[in-house]
């Protein structure tokens, strides 16, 4: 199952905040063109795993590799320049900036082709074109999520990290977000997504990881995990 050269790899990672260790021996990788979902109960360390990639955590042991180059302990603003785009779960847009200004900020590390990329984003997120002069803070939750994703994609991403992109959204928007994620992936961007809505996430994912108590519990293709009775009992029952 393992590809010779994953785009992003978390190898044997032990990490946490300050003295508190949250992740114990996490192994996750994302291959070219893949959508990979991380699911698991609350407090399992799903979002923490993504934040570790961003350089927001104390890493005790293990490695983070981007295209086989080690990026462990790179500070957040440098991680972006290496081609990792990240959409935080909350507070993921600059509320006082217009939609277009948000996208321009997303392109901070980009030196050329900003106008073209902006146009591509408006094609990918048609709703945003008409709202481009509006303050991002005035948009609805779903639209903000779109702005946040477009903002993250303004650079040439090697991989896109999404932290619970559908949390708190209505079912209609949730479906739209998952659709967009597939569209983005269709453009050739590998995606690592952390999700509460396990069923839908695994539905679009090539592969999935189930984290429990900060460590790998189950790994498999989206379909395998959806079919797994224990996974279903633990996380899928009652949801959606």
């Amino acid at each position: 199952m393992s590809n010779p050269q994953p785009v992003l790899e978390l190898r044997g990672l032990f990490a946490g905040y300050g003295e508190m260790e949250i992740l114990h021996d996490i192994n996750i990788h994302v291959d070219k063109d893949e959508v990979v979902a991380i699911i698991g109960p609350n407090g399992a360390g799903k979002s923490t795993a993504i934040k570790a990639v961003l350089g927001l955590l104390n890493i005790r042991n293990g490695k983070i590799l981007l295209e086989n180059t080690e990026i462990t302990d790179t500070p957040p603003e440098k991680v972006v320049t290496k081609g990792i785009s990240y959409v935080p779960q909350t507070h993921n847009v600059f509320v006082n900036l217009s939609v277009e200004e948000n996208l321009e900020m997303g392109a901070w590390t980009r030196s050329e082709g900003i106008v073209e990329r902006l146009e591509e984003m408006y094609v990918l997120f048609p709703d945003l074109r008409e709202k481009r002069k509006q303050a991002a803070g005035s948009l609805s939750g779903g639209q903000r999520q779109m702005v946040a994703m477009a903002k993250a994609l303004m650079v040439d991403s090697k991989v896109l990290l999404l932290d619970e992109p559908t949390a708190g959204l209505s079912p209609k928007y949730r479906a739209e977000i998952f659709e967009t994620i597939q569209k983005i992936n269709g453009e050739g961007v590998p995606i690592l997504i952390v999700e509460q809505n396990a069923k839908q996430a695994l539905g679009i994912a090539n592969r999935g990881y189930v984290l429990v108590d900060g460590t790998n519990r189950f790994t498999g293709t989206g379909a395998e995990l959806l079919a797994d009775r224990e996974v279903a009992r633990m996380f899928l029952g009652g949801r959606d």
Binding site: L54, L56, P76, E77, V79, V80, T81, Y86, P88, H91, N92, V93, F94, V95, N96, L97, E101, E104, M105, G106, W108, T109, K151, A152, V155
Partner: protein, 316 residues
């Protein structure tokens, strides 16, 4: 109407109030930017204003004695601005930057220390006595006086007040352009909005910090020079005296809201001057000795009623 009320009110209260408001507004821009972007109340800001005015005085005096040039203070202010920005960036590098990841109160304390360090340095170099910034009495602009007198609305505005108001408007236009149209200006707003998101977006926060000092320093020196032009002398406590009204202006306008700070500055300036108008009877409503108290009272009322300010700035 004009003779009984307007003449006195407009010429002796309203216009001076606007002029003072312009000075506060420029000063408050720096305060609110530092508060919004670096997230601390910078107590040394008034001292930057004062130092800028002293540097301007020195440059124009040197130009006068060495080269025989009579520089307008606004020309002499240009190198002073550059020097002040240099000083600010050095102060940031050695005294504020070490506390970037520490609790904010550490850097507030450092800035409080810098306030005295900068002031003592100026006192040591230039001495404690007042210096004359501009000699003589600045008479009201004759053309304006005659023109308005023809309409029976005589305005007595000295040239220095025109310079100050025009200067403030030009700086404000430039500042607006910077924040709304340039990449670094938008990034300043972005960092002010959320430093964490700015950092994971890849924005070079240190570049934004430098830009903040440049813009804040520029406006502070402009404010200091305008103040010196207005009162025509320099003293080492002039910055500290402005500090409280500037904080009041920044809080009134909403922390992290530069345009709010400008509005707040104008309100505070007007309130201070108009509070001395004999609204009731013949005596000033509030004794001029308590002018600073007006700014403080507005600030306290604001903190009680609406700590986020008029333009919904950040509350902590």
């Amino acid at each position: 109407m004009w003779t009984s009320f307007g003449f006195e009110f407009v010429n002796f209260y309203l216009i001076p109030g606007l002029v003072l408001g312009c000075i506060y507004a420029l000063g408050a821009i720096g305060i609110t930017l530092t508060f919004g972007i670096l997230r601390f109340a910078n107590f040394a800001h008034g001292e930057v204003m004062m130092t800028g005015a002293y540097l301007t005085w020195t440059i124009s005096t040197l130009a006068g004695s060495l080269l025989g040039w009579a520089l307008h203070p606004l020309i002499a202010a240009i190198p002073a601005v550059l020097a002040a920005i240099g000083i600010l960036i050095l102060i940031d590098r050695y005294f504020y930057k070490p506390f970037r990841d520490a609790p904010t109160i550490m850097v507030v304390m450092a800035s409080f220390g810098m306030m005295l360090v900068v002031r003592s340095t100026v006192q040591f170099i230039w001495g404690p006595n007042q210096l004359t910034f501009v000699k003589g009495i600045d008479r009201p602009n004759e053309a304006v006086r005659q023109f308005t007198a023809d309409f029976d609305m005589m305005l007595l505005v000295p040239n220095k007040h025109f310079w100050i108001m025009a200067g403030t408007i030009i700086i404000m236009l430039g500042f607006t352009y910077l924040l709304e149209r340039t990449r670094i200006g938008k990034a300043m707003r972005a960092v002010s909005d959320s430093p964490d998101l700015a950092s994971v977006t890849g924005i070079d926060v240190e570049a934004v910090v430098r830009a903040t000092w440049i813009v804040g320093g520029f406006c502070a020196v402009a404010a200091g020079v305008f103040l010196a032009m207005d009162i025509q002398f320099l003293e080492t406590t002039m910055g500290f005296r402005m500090l409280l009204p500037m904080f009041a202006a920044a809080i009134l306008g909403g922390i992290g809201r530069p345009f709010g700070a400008v509005f707040g500055g104008l309100i505070i300036g007007l309130a201070e001057e108009l509070s001395a108008y004999p609204w009731i009877g013949d005596a000033p409503l509030i004794s001029p000795g308590y002018k600073t108290g007006v700014a403080f009272s507005i600030m306290i009322i604001m903190l009680i009623v609406r700590p986020s300010g008029l333009f919904k700035g950040r509350t902590f």
